[in-house]
């Protein structure tokens, strides 16, 4: 992409080399001069040099002359000189030596300002063979009586570390920093020590045990409280970093959690959005295990977040809104009354509007859908086309969420009457998705869709959607075969392979429903398809052709099997990824909607980022789970439902609560997934099997109920009454072990009724020596992780138990160190669970 933009020449942006040599000779003249007014001329010259430097002209050739001129007591001149030297020393290591002298001298100046500035410049030279000159001044800088100098020195240490890590460590600077951090009076010195230490110890931790424990020590209670107790001494920026650090601290008990939250409560009223977000992150992390309080936190942060959104520049508002978006997606219910705050202003940038539309979609429920859809319809008529499209999609998404579908379908159909091409196109795609989910609406929709002239539709996605409907509802649309025919006639002009693929399939479907009218077209389309240059189109045409040759009724079973309505469109982002993003609240991950390992190089992952290993591990768990539950629609339904209701699935996902809403992102890519599902429908049937019972179901039930080997007679399984297991080990084991028992059991209605009090269930299970390590969920789905240990040996049993309170069923997955006794344990577990609520 060659940009048509050209940099226009301007007087302040000279490009030639002539100017540089001019400056060079003038600097020479001034170097030795002591005449009055010299400083003023020097200032002008230095300014010129810096302005060249700014616009990117290489002025490194005047390095020695600049250094010669630097003998001055004028602080403004000194600063300009330092800035220049800092920029070019790296590329002129030999010449940089020239500056050492005057910088070292300045480091001993009477004026603390000069000492500080000189030290800062000395540390920014970034020349490895000059580090020896650095150690002395840095050491005395850390002990300087002026806070300004100590402030500079404490950051200087990390600069030195980046030039030469060994020099820094050998000089024992980290230890000095630690001492300063815990004892200095100046808050900014303390903050800088913290910044430097976090960076140094994180980098060192890879190679040194000691550094890694030092890094841990930053999160120890005394250090955390030291910072918390004087948090208001720090400026707002340092407060942000401290709050971020505290969010990694795990308080041992809930009293401490409340203490911290009470202490920091007023930070939510700060005008600086970064502080507010850092505080929110801390509160959310602290209360992960306290469902009720966690919910209260959501309530508490709503108003401050909304205030931050409406304050300040659109850019700041965007950053806060991205975070609000994340929270809304996790807990849409809690924000459903605030929906009016997500209405768009006409003058907002599109990136803000888009987030707002997604939030409006998420919070739509029975009570507000009417108003939200009315508002969205206003946007749909908007002159701003991207906005109109986005709004129509939002209406469609809401329809797919099942609230008040009736009224929405009417509105969608009204869009088609607006006769704006982009509106029609978007709407068609949506109507198609709606029909896939609610086939019962086909009558109303088809009546309207049938009136649309295919000539007016140009966008491939919309065209594909229309063609799909023509095939699927060929019996309801009178002229379907003829419309298809006219489309086939223009096969050569159709440049989208996607549309051609749909055309093939639709003509096939139409043929099975109305053979006499379609036969002609079918021949034409197969011929055209087989001759197509696009591989997929060619292959599909050939496949259909052979299938028809083989047996027409089999072909019908393949191409046009009876379909079940799609109940939930697949989610594009796994709950695992969402949890990782939530863990990285108040970072770019939220804005990009990606966990940091996807966009950040390893060495920049921040002081307390999760290690890669951990990430892979939990992803492993995820994929194993999905594999186990197979890709059947029903199964993934359950997954989705669970995800909506899980609140603190702390063990499996790395300590993120999963309030995650089913985001219907997936269906956006509808046309593509349409193709996919069509292809899928082609796969399973075998000529001998009538495709009535989907083979997927068989596979599923096989997968879920592996009949355990007949239980070895383990008459009494004794369990340890007080086993110990930390969540990490649990997670590790869960990943390593195979499922040895997997089955569904029934629970008594009394037990289900008593589920309202989760704690009592957990106590009940404890009474049977079965410990809960994590639990969560909302009616009707609850998810638990239990573990137990044999009394004599260390052998462990791990259980995942999903209880559906509507069906009164529980699904168990048991993993055991010793598989031979897992059946016995299963019996114990089942009897424990089934006795709940009856006693």
């Amino acid at each position: 992409m060659a940009p048509p933009y050209q940099r226009s020449p301007s007087p302040s942006q000279p490009s030639g080399k002539g100017e540089v040599s001019d400056v060079k000779s003038q600097l020479r003249q001034l170097a030795g001069s002591r005449a009055p007014g010299t400083d003023d001329s020097k200032r002008d010259l230095f300014k010129k040099v810096l302005s060249y430097m700014t616009v990117g002209i290489d002025v490194s050739s005047v390095f020695s002359d600049m250094v010669m001129c630097s003998a001055t007591s004028d602080i403004v001149l000194k600063k300009m000189c330092y800035l220049y030297v800092g920029n070019y020393a790296k590329y002129n290591p030999d010449l940089a030596l020239l500056t050492i002298n005057f910088l070292q001298r300045d480091c001993k100046d009477e004026d603390p300002m000069i000492r500080g500035l000189a030290l800062r410049s000395l540390c920014t030279l970034r020349v490895p063979n000059l580090v020896e000159y650095l150690v002395g001044p840095l050491g005395s800088g850390l002990k300087d009586k002026s806070g300004y100098v100590r402030m500079v020195a404490s950051i200087g240490v990390v600069k030195l570390y980046h030039i030469s890590a060994s020099t820094c460590v050998d000089a024992d600077f980290p230890a000095m920093l630690k001492h300063l951090m815990l004892h200095d009076q100046d808050a900014q010195v303390v903050a800088n020590c913290l910044f430097s230490l976090q960076e140094i110890w994180t980098l060192e931790a890879n190679t040194s045990e000691e550094a890694s424990s030092e890094r841990e020590a930053l999160l120890s209670k005394p250090v955390i409280y030291y910072f918390l107790n004087r948090i208001k001494d720090f400026n707002e920026w340092a407060q942000c970093i401290i709050l971020e650090m505290v969010s990694k601290y795990v308080p041992p008990d809930s009293n401490e959690i409340f203490d911290i939250m009470n202490l920091l409560e007023d930070r939510l009223q700060h005008a600086n959005g970064a502080i507010v977000l850092a505080t929110i992150k801390l509160f959310l992390q602290l209360t992960l295990d306290m469902t009720d309080v966690h919910q209260q936190v959501y309530e508490r942060i709503k108003a401050p977040l909304l205030t931050q959104v409406s304050l300040g520049s659109p850019e700041q508002s965007f950053a806060v809104l991205s975070h609000l978006h994340l929270l809304v997606m996790r807990a849409p219910m809690l924000f459903s009354t605030a929906y009016k705050h997500f209405y768009c202003h006409y003058n907002e940038p599109f990136y803000v509007k888009k987030l707002k539309l997604e939030m409006l979609t998420a919070v739509a429920n029975e009570s507000n859908t009417y108003e939200i859809v009315t508002e969205l319809c206003e946007y749909a008529a908007n002159v701003d086309i991207p906005m109109a499209r986005e709004s129509i999609r939002a209406v469609g998404k809401i329809a797919l969420q099942q609230y008040d579908v009736n009224a929405i379908v009417d509105r969608l159909l009204q869009f088609l009457e607006m006769e704006k091409d982009h509106v029609t196109a978007e709407t068609l795609v949506l109507v198609k998705d709606l029909l896939r989910k609610y086939p019962q609406w086909s009558h109303d929709c088809i009546a309207v869709v049938g009136n649309i002239s295919s000539k007016n539709i140009q966008e491939p996605k919309a065209k594909a959607a229309l063609i799909w409907m023509l095939g699927e509802y060929a019996q309801d649309m009178q002229d379907a075969p003829y419309v298809l025919e006219s489309l086939v006639e223009k096969w050569e002009d159709e440049c989208s392979a996607e549309v051609r693929l749909h055309l093939l399939t639709s003509v096939m479907k139409c043929f099975f429903r109305r053979p006499p009218e379609t036969q002609q077209v079918l021949r034409a389309v197969l011929a055209a398809g087989i001759a197509d240059f696009h591989q997929d189109v060619h292959d599909r045409a050939l496949f259909y052709y052979r299938l028809l040759q083989h047996n027409v009724s089999v072909a019908e079973g393949v191409v046009n099997p009876p379909k079940q309505a799609v109940s939930v469109f697949a989610d594009t982002q796994s709950s695992e990824i969402k949890d990782r993003i939530f863990d990285e609240f108040n970072s770019l991950s939220v804005v990009y909607k990606k966990p940091s390992y996807m966009f950040t190089d390893k060495e920049y992952r921040g002081p307390f980022a999760f290690s890669e290993e951990f990430g892979n591990m939990s992803i492993g768990v995820e994929s194993e789970e999905t594999a186990a539950s197979s890709q059947r629609v029903e199964a993934s339904d359950k997954e989705l439902l669970l995800n909506t209701s899980e609140k603190e699935d702390k063990v499996l996902s790395n300590n993120g609560p999963a309030y995650s809403a089913p985001a219907y992102d997936g269906y956006l890519d509808t046309a593509a997934s349409q193709v996919q599902s069509d292809l899928v429908s082609l796969e399973p049937p075998l000529p001998s099997h009538p495709p009535k019972t989907s083979s997927g179901i068989d596979l599923l039930s096989l997968g879920l109920s592996i009949k355990p080997t007949p239980a070895p007679t383990a008459p009494t399984l004794k369990l340890n009454a007080k086993p110990v297991l930390d969540p990490n080990t649990f997670q590790q084991k869960w990943r390593q072990l195979q499922v040895s028992v997997s089955q569904e059991i029934s629970i008594s209605p009394q037990g289900v009724a008593a589920l309202a009090n989760l704690q009592s269930l957990l106590r009940h299970m404890q009474g049977h020596s079965i410990q809960c390590i994590a639990s969560g969920g909302q009616s009707p789905n609850y998810k638990f992780f239990f573990f137990a240990q044999k009394s004599e040996e260390s052998s462990l049993f791990l259980v995942e138990c999903i209880i559906n309170s509507l069906t009164c069923k529980a699904q168990l997955k048991i993993k055991a160190d010793d598989e031979s006794s897992s059946q016995a344990f299963s019996t114990v577990f089942q009897s424990a669970l089934s006795s709940y609520g009856t006693s």
């Binding site: 933009y5 910044f195 700060h270 700041q316 202003h345 966009f599 950040t600």
Partner: protein, 451 residues
Amino acid sequence: MISQFFVLSQRGDNIVFRDYRGDVQKGSAEIFFRKVKFWKEDGEEEAPPVFNVDGVNYFHVKVVGLLFAATTRSNVSPSLVLELLQRIARVTKDYLGILNEDSLRKNFVLVYELLDEVIDFGYVQTTSTEVLKASVFNEPIMIDAGRLPALGPASIFMQGTKRMPGTAVTKSVVANEPGGRKREEIFVDIIEKISVTFSSSGYILTSEIDGTIQMKSYLTGNPEIRVALNDDLSIGRGGRSIYDYGGSSGAGAVILDDCNFHESVHLDSFEVDRTLSLVPPDGEFPVMNYRITQEFKPPFRINTLIEEAGSLKAEVSLKIRAEFASSITANAIAVQMPLPAYTTRVSFELEPGAVGQTTDFKESNKRLEWNLKKIVGGSEHTLRAKLTFSQESHGNITKEAGPVSMTFTIPMYNASKLQVKYLQIAKKSKTYNPYRWVRYVTQANSYVARL
């Protein structure tokens, strides 16, 4: 940790460029500018304030047409960086008095000085104008304030011919008055941005006030200041209260949905008597931000009519009524209305004797524009326009046009009735009596009437 900070002009030239950590390539400013200028992703035409190119994260905010930008490779808090960029712009303005491309270019060495102290090795050190004073030695080079455009920041407080001292907005915190002595003065501005959406029948669908109490202090010796707000001010709301439109000014409690405060504000007696006490730091800063969704009387009513008048023709009538006291005048009113996409020509008809009004039809985006220099409270203005189309409209013409949006500034008017009852300055001596200015202004944020 921030790697680089730079300010780019509208054309993409570096005005200042500071590299703090040396871990992002030198050409980053160019990469950034191209990306912003030619942004086309996800159907969006405007670059978001944060994006990632090859592992480098680019942040930017737009201030007075300039791009204040930063880069980093780490996964930092986006709020922190964007807030910081905005703050750097504000501190720079405190020093330069006027922030624009010209003043930045003239003072770039001073800006470098500031940047040196604001960030060290990517870590924010301070953004307090007060603290920075100790370590910034360049004298700002003032640019001529007289050349500011008429609708620039200095003019928002203009009220008719009585001119408030606009200097507060354009005076550097370090520069001295021509007389050599600093004038002791303090400005407290209550700035409210209002958003209102009217339905086609004139009913208010949504309304919100985003307010800021902004302070700029030129007091020496940092005396303590007390600001008293309405006694009946309450924060947080249980339900929607019924607001009494009939009451005169001051009547009816002001209910804030939420508010937040500047670091320096003490709230010790806020719960009791609604006073804020603070020792104002140098420079401009928001004392308090607040948000109100309580209903309020919108300053303008908009009446729009669009009707077909024969084939390929239609007529628009726009009526604006100022519903505030006649002692108050609104400035710089602009009314915009998108017209049907197939509009080819528009002829306007202003009311007889109209002064200071201009009209335009923007062919490129089919938009009608109507600008009024001022509107006096209680008055009403009408614009009629005849449209010519290139094709027949499809049925409902009102669905093809609108909504009407409006921007304006109303000095000495505040929609919320939040007031500064008094501004008390701790006295140093009997003769110490600095100038205090308490000013109100209401601006439109999103003021929209649907058809």
